[in-house]
């Protein structure tokens, strides 16, 4: 794996189909190390599919995807190598309900990274403290609020010490009063220099945190720009239409 040099993620002419439905069309995107990219767009535009291709929860059928210098192919060993370095936070949290919060966080470090149990627990407690819920460590996910569960999910992903973090609509399933606590945790992570791709409709977060904002529609990346320009003077008609619909 190329260390410290090159780009974090490269999409080169990537296509994907669901059956005959062309869901990703000629996607080109380069994410530099330490860069924060927010991806927005109407539902069904392919934004989730795009980031799920990064850790190969979805397969692309044409083009090249390189993550931290490793090209994604059907090679299972490479896929696992990439997944170890890429953390992901889902809309529905996807915590393991049969394990405590602490066990959720230590599972992968212990079994995948072979970290000694005590060391994994110390790291987990440190990260749970960072997302401000160390006192929940011995509870089960079902006993926590949505916002707390999502913060656990962030801590769980960070426990693998990833180089890249993917966020797939992390606040869409939350009650409104819990959105802020999750966004705060993500903002803090961004300030520490993590490479992040965030699919979200939280335009306030995009303005504040993103280095670039990408707009997707109908499987294509339509426009990418720095947030100030993106919101102030969108170029493409479809971007303008989308922004006029969500920024009322």
């Amino acid at each position: 794996m190329a260390a410290g040099e090159g780009n974090a993620i490269e999409f080169i002419d990537v296509h994907k189909w669901y059956g005959s439905f062309h869901v990703l069309r000629a996607v080109n995107l380069t994410v530099a190390r330490g860069e924060r990219i927010v991806v927005c767009g109407p539902s069904g535009s392919g934004k989730s599919t795009l980031i799920r291709c990064v850790n190969r929860l979805e397969e692309h059928q044409r083009g090249t995807i390189r993550v931290d210098g490793v090209e994604l192919t059907a090679d299972v060993g490479r896929i696992d190598e990439v997944r170890r370095e890429v953390g992901m936070v889902f809309q529905q949290f996807n915590l393991f309900p049969h394990l405590t919060i602490l066990e959720n966080c230590t599972l992968a470090p212990i079994w995948v990274r072979k970290t000694p149990k005590r060391e994994a627990e110390e790291l987990a407690m440190k990260l749970l403290t960072r997302v401000k819920i160390p006192e929940q460590a011995l509870k089960y996910p079902g006993q926590l609020s949505g916002g707390q569960q999502q913060r656990v999910a962030i801590a769980r992903a960070l426990c693998m010490n990833p180089k890249i973090m993917l966020f797939d609509e992390p606040t869409s399933a939350l009650d409104p009063e819990m959105v802020k606590e999750v966004l705060d945790a993500m903002t803090e992570l961004a300030q520490d220099g993590m490479t992040m791709i965030v699919v979200t409709h939280e335009m306030g977060f995009a303005r504040k945190v993103a280095d670039r904002v990408a707009f997707m529609d109908q499987g294509e990346i339509v426009e990418i720009n720095a947030p100030a320009e993106f919101f102030a003077s969108p170029q493409h008609e479809r971007t303008k239409l989308f922004l006029s619909q969500i920024l009322r």
Binding site: L57, V76, R83, V86, G87, Q92, N94, P97, L107, V112
Partner: protein
């Protein structure tokens, strides 16, 4: 009283109300009976009818089994003279045979040791608060089979005379068959269920064929097939003990049912659980062992135990291929002309029924307790 709303429809609460306990709708047994047993004319009639039925049937049954019963007798004569009571003397007389079959009397202590060690290890492994349960499980799954084989079958080097399986019989054969079936059917069933959901076409096809074939034929057919076909799969000249095929048949038959039970559990799992595990870099086997199966198996405990109970009772069918299980031993005991009489069959079958009931009800209660235990704090 309506809430004090201003004339224009606005409202502002000025003081918080007190937090009150819930009202008491019922108090004591009388209120409970009124609500649950005598809530209407029909409900009262049903209650009284069922009570009357109980009073009519239960006392004669209890008297048959206790006060009218013959508890000890040298032979069947006393039982033939007391036909309105059970003949427990018969059961007492045959108890040794029912427990060990024709296992040589001098060697029966070996069966006792296996049964006691086995029961102890099972209790150790299954009792939630026992210390070092993992060690208990390891001893049970690795050490116990060796101990059981050496003691039951015998080993010349240890001066334990060999006991031909032809002589094995009674309770310990039933327990052994059930135990082998239970211990092997669950893991084989889990593998078959995973195989049936596998992405590998050949693994999937093989699992489907096995499950559908074994499920599609009667258990007795499986037993006959195991008896006659197992030698075909073994190296030439290697003849399995007559005891082995029924055990293999039982385990495989139960495994096919178990597979479908487990598959049902796997299907209740949300896709997000797989994705969450994969995104963390867990490979297939770790994801399956650490995330998928713990949840899927917990959800199918009632069905799995249901299969165990069915399996336990199905062990009576191994008598068809010549094994003397507990029920077959009972049937053999009936052939003793010294103990022939009208009450003896009834007594024997009631006793056999009680034996199976105790084990099955025990499994049922244990699974209910486990369900409650595992449900704590894990909802949502």
């Amino acid at each position: 009283m309506p809430a004090p709303t201003n004339a224009n429809g606005t409202y502002l609460r000025l003081a918080s109300g007190p937090v009150l306990p819930p009202p008491l709708f019922s108090s004591g047994g009388i209120a409970w009976m009124r609500a649950n047993l005598f809530s209407s004319f029909l409900s009262s009639a049903i209650t009284l009818a069922l009570v009357a039925f109980g009073l009519w049937t239960a006392p004669p049954l209890i008297a048959w089994a206790t006060t009218q019963a013959v508890w000890s007798a040298p032979d069947g004569a006393l039982c033939r003279a007391h036909q309105d009571g059970a003949c427990w003397a018969f059961v007492a007389q045959k108890l040794e045979y029912l427990g060990y079959g024709s296992y040589p009397a001098a060697e029966r202590w070996r069966v006792d040791v296996v049964e006691i060690v086995g029961a102890g290890l099972i209790a150790w492994m299954l009792w939630p608060r026992a210390p070092r349960r993992g060690l208990g499980a390891a001893l049970f799954f690795l050490g116990f089979p060796v101990l059981a084989f050496v003691l039951l079958h015998g080993a010349e080097s240890l001066r334990l005379p060999l006991v031909d399986t032809l002589l094995w019989g009674g309770v310990f054969v039933s327990l052994l068959t059930a135990l082998v079936g239970i211990v092997f059917s669950l893991p084989i069933g889990v593998l078959l269920a995973l195989g049936r959901r596998s992405n590998l076409p050949i693994v999937r096809a093989a699992s489907v064929v096995f499950i559908e074939f074994v499920r599609g034929v009667p258990f007795i057919t499986v037993l006959y097939m195991a008896n006659n076909m197992l030698p075909l799969f073994l190296p030439p000249g290697w003849v399995p003990d007559r005891f082995i095929p029924p055990l293999v048949g039982t385990a495989l038959f139960a495994a096919a049912y178990m597979a479908e039970e487990v598959r049902g559990g796997l299907q209740t799992l949300d896709k997000g659980q797989y994705e969450g595990a994969m995104a963390l870099g867990l490979g297939y086997w770790r994801m399956t062992g650490l995330v998928v199966l713990p949840q899927a198996l917990t959800r199918v405990i009632p069905g799995v135990v249901n299969n165990f109970i069915g399996l336990f009772k199905d062990t009576t069918l191994v008598a068809i291929v010549g094994m003397t299980d507990f029920l077959a031993a009972m049937d053999n005991a009936f052939k003793d002309t010294v103990w022939s009489g009208p009450t003896i069959l009834a007594t024997g079958y009631v006793f056999a029924g009680l034996f199976y009931f105790v084990f099955c009800y025990g499994m049922s209660r244990y699974s209910a307790a486990m369900e409650r235990r595992l449900a704590v704090g894990r909802t949502g």
